[in-house]
Symmetry: C2
């Protein structure tokens, strides 16, 4: 975590494509992110949000009347996405940590007004939530598109931070007989639960089998 002094900051030896790929991969895997804005009264507001990346932008959306999205309009925002990969158990209290991958994006939120681009963004959100889903859904109407605010933030000022591997203990603590190591965490999907009002005989689509296959534990 950013507040831990010993977090490993992965600064790619060769910034450029490698960094951009790492940032894209984390944004694509993280199901939710946290969007920070400064309220007109001056205090910070952080809300959980769904996001989708396309090229060198990350998109967020919401109700056109949302107070937070209105505050974000044309203003500086910070979008942070974090994947928790594991627990790090050190021999000393202060070196306990977590393994994680996070991306922090600074930028201004640019409102998307073009209905076609809005619809492409909604496709990206839907496909990110459930890959393969878009062809099955009733597409957005012009009225729905008007009622939806879509914003994009450039990834030009994005950075990734990653911690992996075993704990880093003080040298003299390695002799302690305390168990130390890592415990990987992963996300798994349960059985699909049909809507009680589902049209009788509607079977779960095959793409649900590919959801949240779980990351390799033990990172």
């Amino acid at each position: 975590m950013a507040t831990k002094s010993k977090t490993k900051l992965r600064r790619m030896p060769k910034r450029g494509d490698h960094d951009r790929r790492a940032i894209a991969a984390i944004l694509d895997e993280a199901p939710v992110s946290h969007l920070g804005v400064v309220d007109p009264a001056g205090f910070p507001v952080v809300i959980p949000t769904l996001h989708a990346r396309a090229g060198n932008h990350v998109y967020v959306h919401g109700s056109a009347g949302s107070r937070t999205l209105r505050a974000a309009g044309a203003a500086e925002v910070c979008l942070t996405a974090t994947l928790l990969d594991g627990l790090v158990l050190a021999r000393s209290a202060v070196h306990h940590s977590v393994n994680y991958r996070s991306v922090v994006v600074f930028g201004s939120a640019e409102a998307i007004d073009d209905p076609a681009e809005k619809e492409r963004a909604l496709e990206a959100f839907t496909e990110k939530l459930v890959p393969g889903r878009w062809p099955d859904v009733r597409p957005p109407t012009p009225r729905e598109l008007r009622a939806t605010a879509v914003m994009r933030i450039s990834l030009a000022e994005a950075s990734a931070k990653v911690r992996t591997g075993p704990p880093l203990d003080d040298e003299e603590d390695y002799a302690l007989p305390t168990w130390a190591g890592t415990v990987g965490l992963s996300t798994i999907a349960g059985e699909p639960q049909p809507d009680p009002r589902l049209v009788a005989g509607t079977e779960p689509p095959s793409y649900l089998r590919n959801l949240a296959p779980g990351r390799e534990p033990g990172r």
Copy 2:
């Protein structure tokens, strides 16, 4: 998510103990949170952080030199913790959502200077990460306590937001033959991975078996 217009805002009919318990339960279950501050230059900064709750406060910690924690000192902050419980597949694109529980805490970050209170906070962080862990670890030294910044935020201005249950589609869409429903998500812990420098013969402690038992899928 807060940016979805149809998110169910659970306003408890009887605010008070019930609300406070819901807020505490979400903070206690969420392994990480996102801390928002306003940088002195005026833009928002959101960092992932570990937190621990004790009574009516939530604690965060980090390096005493951390730029973000310095910015947070005595300033207004926003700490948000989110648990993702499931995917919500609606018949229409715009009603796709997620089931989740989140807490947003607004308040000022109050620095803890008393070494004994700092140590109690470190105990709370350690026990939150791995319940049962504290008695096994080498406790913090006075020097480590000085190098660690600990801050607390009152839960007086905290609120919880929860979405559960099936999708909410437009009435005319319920006749569509599209599969709709929810897919629960849960977090599972992998096998403990011993540190390569572990003292030979050190067995994993029994409390590791109780980690991340997974939430009930299908919420």
